[in-house]
């Protein structure tokens, strides 16, 4: 083995050692009592954001925090909490940011209503333009006649 290869080998070992240094119980498969519960879990974890890798949801992420939060969501489901209660649990700790579907409230009016306002503005501009053009066309026609 050349010294170069040996170095790479040692570095690889170091990386794998530090990767297992964090306590992560090998994630046990989560067990549900019925299909309906499983469906609720799937829907919830897809709507909740993983805060470590912020563009992934809890269902997709493999971050340790996502494992822990899935475990929490699972336990809350089994203990009979509603979807709303589970979301509230996470919002109280991590803020609205944890929700992929932001609630309609004062600081999200612009987010929810903005597109509608833009659409309306576009419609008004379009109408004004059509009017202006039809007036011009009429004037054009009149001069021709």
């Amino acid at each position: 083995m050349s010294s170069h290869k040996a170095l790479i080998f040692i570095l690889t070992l170091l990386v794998s050692v530090s990767a297992i240094a964090q306590v992560s119980e090998v994630p046990e498969p989560l067990v549900f009592m019925n299909q309906q519960q499983q469906d609720r879990f799937d829907k919830l974890t897809q709507e909740l954001r993983c805060l470590v890798c912020q563009n992934q949801n809890l269902a997709d992420s493999d971050a340790p925090l996502a494992h822990d939060l899935r475990r929490e969501v699972h336990q809350m489901l089994l203990s009979g909490r509603t979807d709303e209660q589970i979301k509230l649990f996470l919002v109280e700790r991590y803020g609205d940011f944890v929700l992929y579907r932001p609630p309609v409230q004062k600081n999200t009016y612009l987010l929810w209503l903005g597109p509608l306002v833009l659409l309306l503005a576009g419609a008004l501009i379009l109408r004004a333009n059509i009017k202006k053009r039809s007036v011009l066309l009429d004037a054009d026609d009149n001069t021709k006649n």
């Binding site: 240094a21 964090q22 306590v23 805060l51 470590v52 340790p64 822990d68 700790r93 803020g95």
Partner: protein, 178 residues
């Protein structure tokens, strides 16, 4: 105004929005904690190095303290370690370690190797308390006032700058009220 200017103006506006967005994107990745200005979550955790002894939130009431979530696997914790040490040695505030999702043997070895700045470290082995504190990164620090209320949260490494601009003024206002 020439109506041909409108697309140009719209484009300039878009560019301005882009630049502003890029400028604040650094701050955007840090999520404001909903826990600031609220009572710190309850905890009752074993002491690192003395698992028979447990300490709860009540044990710390009466004086301000800084909770520093750390772990031996956390690279940034090592980077901020000198700053935390300086803060602890200054005696300005009690510094309590929350060792989370970490093997206690690794944690003790880490403290032995780099020095132990903490008055005490509590063990949050499965990370449940870190979830109650809304911790999503490591390290994170919470400044708690004498009544047990969180008054400031730092996500990521503590710096001397933050101690000067965020921690010290808040400590000063607490003493003023005492």
């Amino acid at each position: 105004m020439n109506s041909r200017m409108i697309p140009l103006l719209a484009f300039v506006l878009l560019v301005v929005l882009l630049v502003v967005g890029l400028k604040i994107s650094d701050r955007k990745t840090l999520i404001p904690s909903p826990l600031v200005d609220k009572p710190a979550p309850e905890f009752n955790l074993p002491v690192l190095g003395n698992p028979g002894q447990k300490m709860s939130k009540e044990s710390f009431l009466g004086k301000p303290y800084l909770i520093n979530f750390w772990a031996s696997w956390c690279v940034t914790c090592r980077a901020e370690h000198p700053v935390i040490t300086d803060l602890a040695e200054s005696g300005l505030v009690r510094v309590i370690g929350f060792n989370f999702r970490d093997e206690s043997a690794d944690a003790k070895a880490w403290l032995a190797r780099f020095g132990n700045p903490y008055e005490v470290s509590l063990v949050d082995l499965d990370g449940r308390i870190s979830i109650d504190f809304g911790v999503y990164a490591a390290p994170e620090s919470f400044l708690v006032d004498p009544s047990g209320k969180i008054v400031f949260k730092q996500t990521g490494a503590m710096t001397h700058e933050i101690i000067k601009t965020e921690i010290m003024p808040r400590l000063a206002s607490m003493e003023f009220r005492n």
